[in-house]
């Protein structure tokens, strides 16, 4: 499992349409120096438990090895700033 604190910087429908179930591409900046991570998700609202996750900070726990983009399971917990 990989854990990281990120700020969500972008939420858009994946312009490449790579996955019929995970149609959203979320871009996030790793705040602990890990660069940028992109996640394919079914629903930004459901994945982040937040109707507007852009700009907010979350603690991510990725169940599978980090990939580009990451399309595996993960949990996101909001981090109070």
């Amino acid at each position: 499992m990989t854990a990281m604190t990120v700020r969500v910087t972008g939420v858009e429908v994946d312009p490449l349409g790579r996955d019929l179930l995970r149609r959203w591409l979320v871009t996030a900046e790793a705040l602990d120096g890990g660069g940028e991570i992109t996640l394919l998700v079914h629903s930004p609202s459901l994945a982040f438990r937040d109707a507007a996750p852009a700009g907010r900070v979350f603690r991510l726990e990725l169940a599978e090895p980090v990939s580009e983009p990451y399309a595996g399971a993960f949990t996101a917990h909001p981090v109070e700033e």
């Binding site: 429908v13 019929l20 179930l21 990939s67």
Partner: protein, 362 residues
């Protein structure tokens, strides 16, 4: 979220962005005169033909060999006639491009053309069509401007033909416009006088979504999207019968497992290697993509609404919120609703596409 629309009035037109010609607009012979003196210019101007007369500036010189300017595509990049990048000739863009092509300065000509947005490029090309340099320009367009330029030329030529543009003339253009951005498509249709727009839930549909001469319109893709949404509603509904699902993740995993069992891989572009690295298969802008994007946004709006409602009721991040949020029954129903919201949108799109087909003309 990327807006599908843009306000053309906000975008600075490329023509406005272009710098004006420098104050020193002496060209050709005048410039040579300044550099080399009158004698050189007189020598150029006063050719003597086959006969050489005493006193003639070209006495002692062989008669000049008249030759064509280098063909377009063999631009003499180093030739002094050609303006280096970032500098330009006097006059308007049509004159500059025309003269550059005549001088064999194809790089320079396409430097100007390629710098234009579609809404500026199309009238510029239209102004160039009657010029003598146009055939050379057109011949070099594929190599120097790519498919964007060749398509723009096709559009400009169709307009230049004059008369009413009917479906027969428009459909081959529609085939070409599919890879363009939505604003560029709209600018091209507007330029042709064929911009008819039907708005479906915030999405402007125009003829670029209709069938081309060879390529299909968006009807098959939209029908596919409806079928997929209905299938997914069924997949989620089937989860109600599965015992032991603890939360939303379990529901999603069950749906995924069911699809896998049916041999359906939802990952349509991109392969995951054993090391977990996903290789992206780049694909060009699909002409129906904006419809699918809007459908996805409509789906997400349902999840957003549910999320906000639960936050209001239980407070964001509270245990009571999480309990309701992840409850399998709620998770299942929310996706049935979300896919259900996509379907009427796609159906309205199909109706709009049928209407557009009827408006395209003979």
């Amino acid at each position: 979220m990327r807006a599908l629309d843009r306000d053309a009035r906000v975008v600075p037109r490329a023509e406005e962005v272009h710098r004006r010609a420098p104050a020193d607009d002496r060209r050709g012979l005048l410039r040579l005169q300044a550099m080399a003196g009158n004698a050189a210019v007189t020598a150029l101007l006063q050719r003597c033909g086959d006969e050489v007369h005493d006193g003639c500036p070209c006495a002692g010189e062989r008669a000049p060999v008249v030759s064509r300017q280098p063909d377009a595509g063999t631009a003499d990049a180093g030739a002094p006639k050609c303006r280096p990048p970032g500098t330009r000739r006097a006059g308007n863009d049509a004159d500059s491009v025309d003269q550059a092509v005549r001088d064999g300065c194809v790089d320079e000509a396409f430097g100007i053309l390629n710098g234009h947005a579609i809404f500026g490029l199309l009238p510029l090309l239209a102004a160039l069509i009657p010029r003598g340099s146009f055939p050379a320009l057109k011949a070099a367009a594929g190599g120097m401007g790519g498919p964007r330029m060749t398509t723009a030329i096709t559009v400009a030529e169709l307009k230049a033909k004059g008369g009413t543009i009917g479906a027969a003339e428009l459909r081959p253009v529609i085939d070409l416009l599919g890879v363009w951005s939505v604003p560029d498509r709209r600018d091209a249709l507007d330029f042709l006088g064929k911009l008819v727009v039907i708005n479906v839930r915030g999405l402007d549909l125009d003829f670029s979504y209709c069938a081309g001469a060879t390529g299909p319109g968006c009807v098959p893709e939209v029908e596919k999207a409806i079928a997929w949404a209905k299938k997914m509603q069924g997949e989620y509904a089937a989860c109600r019968a599965i015992k032991g699902l603890k939360d939303g993740d379990d529901v999603d995993n069950a749906v995924f497992a069911s699809l896998k069992k049916q041999g359906i891989n939802p990952t349509v572009a991109g392969q995951t290697s054993p090391t977990g690295v996903v290789t992206i298969t780049p694909k060009p802008m699909s002409k129906c993509q904006p419809i699918l994007i809007r459908g996805t946004e409509i789906h997400e709006a349902v999840h957003q609404k549910t999320t906000v409602a639960l936050q209001k009721k239980f407070g964001a991040g509270t245990p009571a919120f999480d309990k309701q949020f992840f409850a399998p029954a709620k998770w299942i129903q929310d996706d049935i609703n979300a896919y259900g919201a996509e379907i009427p949108f796609y159906e309205e799109v199909l109706q709009a596409l049928a209407l557009l087909e009827g408006k395209m003309g003979p």
